[in-house]
Symmetry: D3
Subunit: 284 residues, 6 copies
């Protein structure tokens, strides 16, 4: 009798070496991709975050917007506009973007985590000037509107919240020194915060398995490998900026970057609490 329960207990104690290794460390998780459309996966993700916190690891969740922004733009009859294939964010688009990111998606994640026993607090770059952004342009300096990248972080608030046992959930909306609200790439924001917090790990949840090169999936590569890969033709689309952010994070203070498939249930726990993991790990 009790065989099944004993097996479960074994599973709990198998996590001990990983807990020991990462206790007290910060792990920044970029939450995004199709997982955001799957209620069951979302709840599992939230469980992973709470479990990390409960065992003494400090998770920080960073998120972007996904399809929800488009849905609301349609609602108000707004046509998307592009320049050389890049979305242009005009003032009204920025308004709706911020409302969706900071007023809807962020709250949903906060609520989900709290419903499982976490103590999440929603933030954006504007709260206590968590991060400052600057406007970026497209190819040939073409105007993309209110789009920015991180230029400075002010991580004091995150430290205050972490040491009081709260879980920060950060939407990728920032502000420039000139006071403009800017739409930020969430991968870029996650990397910036991971660097500022000297994170142990930066984890990107994506819709694919990880990085592949010449048809071969890469389980574990070094920063050096990653730097080389940046110019490889197999690195394209969304993976290119993600890898670029990864390299920057590792060059500065982050220990490991993981690019994993968020569509696998409990992807975060699997990646943190097993040796081989489920995606691509890039280490210094």
């Amino acid at each position: 009798m009790f065989e099944k329960q004993i097996e479960k207990a074994e599973t709990l104690v198998e996590a001990l070496p990983y807990i020991k290794k990462f206790r007290g460390e910060t792990i920044v998780i970029k939450y995004g991709g199709s997982i955001m459309n799957d209620d069951s996966l979302k709840k599992k993700f939230a469980s992973d975050i709470v479990l990390l916190k409960y065992v003494g690891i400090n998770p920080v969740v960073v998120h972007g917007g996904g399809k929800e922004i488009s849905r609301w733009m349609e609602k108000i009859g707004k046509e998307p506009s592009f320049v050389d294939g890049q979305r242009v964010t005009d003032a009204e688009t920025m308004e709706i973007t911020e409302m969706v990111l900071s007023g809807k998606i962020n709250n949903e994640i906060v609520t989900l985590i709290n419903s499982i026993g976490g103590n999440a607090v929603g933030l954006s770059g504007k709260d206590a000037n968590l991060f400052t952004a600057k406007k970026i342009t497209g190819k040939d300096q073409k105007d993309l509107g209110f789009v920015g990248e991180i230029v400075k972080t002010n991580e004091g608030l995150l430290n205050t919240l972490q040491s009081a046992n709260y879980i920060p959930v950060v939407s990728s909306v920032g502000q420039s020194l000139e006071g403009e609200t800017l739409n930020m790439n969430a991968d870029n924001v996650a990397a910036g915060l991971a660097i500022a917090l000297h994170a142990q790990k930066l984890i990107y949840l994506t819709d694919i398995q990880g990085i592949s090169k010449e048809g071969k999936f890469l389980e574990h590569i070094t920063l050096f490998d990653a730097e080389e890969l940046l110019n490889h033709p197999d690195i394209k689309g969304g993976m290119k900026p993600k890898l670029s952010c990864s390299v920057k994070a590792l060059q500065q203070s982050v220990k490991d970057v993981h690019i994993i498939n968020g569509l696998i249930a409990h992807a975060v726990l699997l990646e943190v609490f097993t040796d081989y993991g489920i995606g691509t790990m890039i280490s210094r």
Copy 2:
């Protein structure tokens, strides 16, 4: 020479007795009304908040939505619906309401305060379960949709933020134990937080001078007077629930309630840093 500067210095030192009296105390300010439509007044309001914080007083700002919600409802072609004169909040209205309150107005106030040198952090009832709500009904138990009132506060997060010198800005969006997002009366939320924080003062910014009775403006009344006033025919419209919240706050832990005209520049400073004040003060 220097006469004008000396006069200004005199003004600064005139504030000393008030600073001495309220240092270390919490003041909850319900921000709302037409002030939200006036950029110059808004900036002055933000200055007042930062000054309070700088002299060692702990302000907490609570806000509702005003006309911005209606503007966005129109944008998506949504007709307002009423039951016995009370607005009914259906699911889609609640969605847009939360986005406007927590994703737009809250961020604007945070940004305004930070631009003046404060360290504001935006919150809603959902963050770390700051407050829990329950659905309320209209007259004769008529369904008003997703509308609620505060039933429980969890003020730990406010204490953490205050002692680390942040200024909390709270949107009046809450959540029920059943997980429904509810639109809250901001006057009710402000009173609930003031009670939980044992606030020295609860200040309501309105569009009128304060409370008048039988054609006479009331500068200073007692809790006893206020309890009597509750049933007076002159107390009607929005003043009735506001006075009811005031009475509840004073009956529990709040020392003074002020109902003042937010359209007067620096209304908050004038009320806190002078003896007579500019509106109606209700004291225990």
Copy 3:
């Protein structure tokens, strides 16, 4: 793919409600019985203790001696002596008892826990006067030699160690006010420390399933039931004093007592992290 890992992750997150419930609480575990002769079970026990600590629960381990004392008495050619069936502890027996308990078994448990990543510190009642004992006598005041029971605790050292994240392991050797070293009943010591620490749980590891009455196993009883049971003929042998200690602990400050079978692998985790548990639970 990953099915097995995902299942394991599910097991981890299933523990969340229990972790949430018991975080920050103290659990005193009386370690003893045949588990002490089984290297595999011992290691599993140590894992359970470390896991509790890692998730923010404060375990305190109390142990007696078991067969090891007899083995060493034989080695020095010492015959056991009895009065009315109770062992008599003369001075030389006390000497060897203390050496085995505090110098051998205690160190083994400490080492085991540390090998798994815990930070255990071995103590006895003598360290910082952790507990003070008084001599007890057998039936009709017959002299049992150096045998005692707890009369006073001085739990400051345990608090210091717990808040610095150490795991205390306490041998049941005490000292009287007169300076005599006394052999203590470990069940009694565990109850005394659980009371002093206002423990959430006091867990007795035994060699049987728990408490049975009239052929029926009792899964969950109240303190009231337990008080009644004390005089029931089915409660006999070692269970009688154990139940008596349980009742005393519950009457004072302890919330739950568990009498469980230490021969089930991971018995402690199973009892703490599931609702039904594996033994008898007595609650206030």
Copy 4:
């Protein structure tokens, strides 16, 4: 209506940028000159000190003696004695000097500050060995008696008092390693403490507008300018040692030195809370 009050509120918020800039910093103020003979100015000075403290700036007041020493020397029929124009401090003069400085003037300043709501504590170099002095001689090594300059500071007491929100008021009486009580130049003591505390500002209250050179008043000069000025014929009398102290302070850790006219009401506030100020500012 309320125009005047609103104007006052404007004045308060105008101070915000200065408060922000100097919060948490230390400002050492040498109080002296004719202001000490004017009750109204003294009270205004005390208000300025309390206001600085209330907005989070840490003032330290250092004072010398002025005419009060002479008045008491006359009372006991003591003739002043000079060597090459420098006052000679014999043992009895030192006794009366210490009594007047530490037992009269110091207490008056403490009392004044406390009457306005500050929490001032009076000290001299002797308290917790705040500073140690050595005897100095006049021209050609002529004996000046018990006159000294600062050689070592022990600022721990000031840090303790500041962080507990007290305002230190320091009389310029010191002690040599040999145990002699020495009369110190208060400008020298103020500079020594400003250096030890890494003060943001060192402010000298004098009876003149500031530094003038070749008939031209100097509003803002650099440390380099000040070093050059030291040998300029226009720098003479009491200004020479004051400028010398200023240069030493700036060469070490002090950020700005201000030499201002204490006879202007609220001179300290005007200098700290405006950009142009009212006297001469010397910056690194």
Copy 5:
């Protein structure tokens, strides 16, 4: 060999039980009487104070003025004036009294303690409003001038200094709510501070052995005995108010009062570190 040193070491360890008993407690010592005229005794007194501090006891020294005030009054040609045998303190007398107490005697004690390795800080009732006084009158309401007794203490500064390991030395000069400087009875001040600090002991240094009644010296009496003694004809002169202060201190929060002969070398140590002591001990 080493016999003498070993004997000295024995003496050190003999103090252990007393140190254990009084560690962390506050002892207020009224320093006064003829000891103030004997340099050797003064130094021994200072050593006692430093030793108490070094072993973890918190001494607070309170002093009056003795003959030094009279010496300075003579210097300025001031005649003492009396009403019914009580000294009248006019404004000029108060001025010189404060200068002597706070500017001379206080500094001497501070310096003495510091020379032996203590960290003394001189205070009066004016520092941080340590105590507030009110004017008292003589028999039949006759005006005694600027003479007062303690009505309120504000012991925060003493706590701050004690916990930062400083030794407070307090002169018996106070201030009334009306801002008048008042000459205080030092016995009264010592009792007031001992009460406010919940002192373990209040020790009065006098010039006599202690209390005698009907020719018999009293080594140890109870508060009850002391209350009875208050009206006994043998209690007269300075002993009457001293006993009255003692009774008041014991009735409130002080554990023991000691009235001892300051002319015995190391009187304080002898009283604190031996069981029988050298004077009269009054206990609750």
Copy 6:
């Protein structure tokens, strides 16, 4: 009268300069030699340790086993075995050694210190991995069995205990990374802990006066002298490794090493609280 008590008080204050010098510092004392067989000397030793703690110095006691191990080996009929004159520790010898050191001698010292008012806590290298050992071999790599030397310390537990005012008592039993229990040279352990704690002093209690060279006793030598002495023919037997440990300790972080005669009563106090001391002092 009181002459004798006054003399004793003088003795107490004579200790002031030494207390001042060593307050807050750590002193590691290797307790061993014939003192362990003398109940009166042991009690005096314990008094010295408690007194050091009471005056703010942090003692750490390290002990070996002495004759008690041999006595217990005889009891179980175990013959000692030697290789080239060095004792060989087989598994059973190690078992009995640990029981005697950690289960008997350690407890005796703890109890002795506590009986005098100290708060001692017994530890070995196993507690919280206080120190890690590695096996050492004899001449020509001959196997000595379970004998080791310190290779790594983990002094966190000592810091925790010291700052909570406990006195650590450490038995010289360690563990290798491979999990073997090893018998350690206590001189080596004392030096290792002194280095890790940056101790002010490392004191070796021996049975001789200290170090002599060419018939001359050495009172005070430098580290340089000690390094030279290492190869001198007069340094032999147990003194050679002791001197070698001393040199290593001084080369790293320890300020002074003392080699003294534990048979002199209060040897520790005499050495710490007098200038000349009673043994050989080696200073950097």
